[in-house]
């Protein structure tokens, strides 16, 4: 499964990438924020994992942009963020994310959530 990992923190991108690799996902693309992600996303991307708080374009705006484009409207998107307030979760759900994980997360939680999302979209 080809994944796009979006986070302005180089540290977090490596952590997510490492977690995905440990779970057997090795076809990975990285982006530094929403704007960068939009230049790298295409139909070959099968799953997107994005942070929320990023410069230029945050995760919420990115999700709305993806859902507004027919090419990416149905691409599974998971938000991985420190934002745990219920209002934020509601906003993310309304924007169209398929799953929501809080940092810090474990690889197992990441895998479980990916499996849940893929099962739901199929």
């Amino acid at each position: 499964m080809k994944c796009l990992v979006v986070d302005d923190s180089a540290t977090m991108r490596r952590i997510v990438v490492n977690a995905l690799k440990s779970l057997g996902h090795n076809d990975l693309v990285e982006a530094t924020d929403g704007t960068d992600a939009l230049t790298k996303v295409d139909e070959s991307i099968e799953f997107i994992i994005t942070d929320w708080n990023m410069p230029s374009m945050g995760g919420l705006e990115l999700v709305k942009a993806l859902r507004g484009d027919p090419k990416t409207a149905s691409t599974p998107v998971m938000m991985v963020t420190t934002r745990s307030v219920e209002q934020d979760i509601l906003q993310a759900a309304e924007a169209g994310v398929n799953g929501y994980i809080l940092k810090p997360f474990t690889p197992q939680v990441l895998q479980d959530k990916i499996n849940q999302i893929l099962a739901a979209v199929q």
Binding site: T11, M12, S84, L90, A93, T106, P107
Partner: protein, 238 residues
């Protein structure tokens, strides 16, 4: 009006008031009183009943000196506040940036080391035909290292917390400057009309590139609560 001008005016006023006092005394008790009639006598009597104004210039000068001294003290305090607070806040911000940068560097170094260790493990796995228990140990070691990788998320969370503190410090600096402006002597003298410092407009937290409330909490309960909220958001109960 300078200090000298004020003192000159006070002296002139004192002299005038002394003359008026003498005139009143002359009219009241002087040899010409019997010849003066009507309105002049009445005015003299009324002036005599008024408070002694000869002290007024002295009082004004004394009050002016006191005010000047107080304003001077306030100006010194204002400058001290500005200097101390601005300096401390600037150094605190710099220190925070240093911490954030240092933790990122350290984290990257750790990850580089872990990457190298994982590469070694992969080599061991390829170069030998290990016994079952050796393979199990290698897998265990790999899992341990991957878990360690996950622990390094603290750096991102710390950076966001620090960004929140830095933003708070900047806001404090803004407010301190506004308070210090209140003691600007030029503004009090009316020479400078400072526009009121409006508070900085609130920035939507959704548009910031950090979350000041980022938490280190790894409890499953926290994720479970988020899952519940997300499920409710996606499929609201009637």
């Amino acid at each position: 009006m300078t200090d000298t001008d004020l003192r000159t005016l006070a002296n002139e006023l004192e002299t005038t008031m002394t003359l008026v006092r003498d005139l009143v005394h002359e009219v009241q008790v002087g040899p010409c009183r019997q010849r003066l009639q009507g309105r002049l006598v009445e005015l003299a009597d009324r002036l005599a009943g008024r408070p002694d104004l000869t002290e007024l210039p002295v009082m004004i000068v004394r009050a002016y000196s006191g005010l000047t001294e107080a304003l001077g003290g306030i100006r010194v305090s204002r400058e001290a506040i500005q200097s101390y607070a601005a300096d401390r806040i600037t150094r605190s911000q710099a220190r925070l940036n240093e911490v954030s940068s240092a933790t990122e560097s350290a984290t990257l170094e750790l990850m580089n080391g872990i990457d190298r260790a994982l590469a070694i493990i992969d080599e061991l796995g390829r170069e030998e035909q290990p016994a079952d228990d050796t393979s199990a140990r290698i897998n265990t070691l790999r899992d341990e290292l991957n878990q360690l990788f996950g622990h390094l998320q603290f750096q991102d969370i710390t950076a966001q917390q620090i960004a929140g503190v830095a933003a708070a410090l900047e806001e404090i600096e803004h407010q301190v400057q506004a308070v210090a402006m209140l003691f600007d002597q030029r503004e009090i003298a009316g020479m400078v009309s400072a526009a009121p410092v409006a508070p900085a407009p609130p920035v939507s937290t959704a548009k910031l590139n950090y979350n000041a409330d980022a938490s280190f909490d790894r409890s499953t309960h926290r994720q479970a609560q988020a899952d519940q909220a997300f499920a409710q958001a996606v499929n609201p109960r009637p």
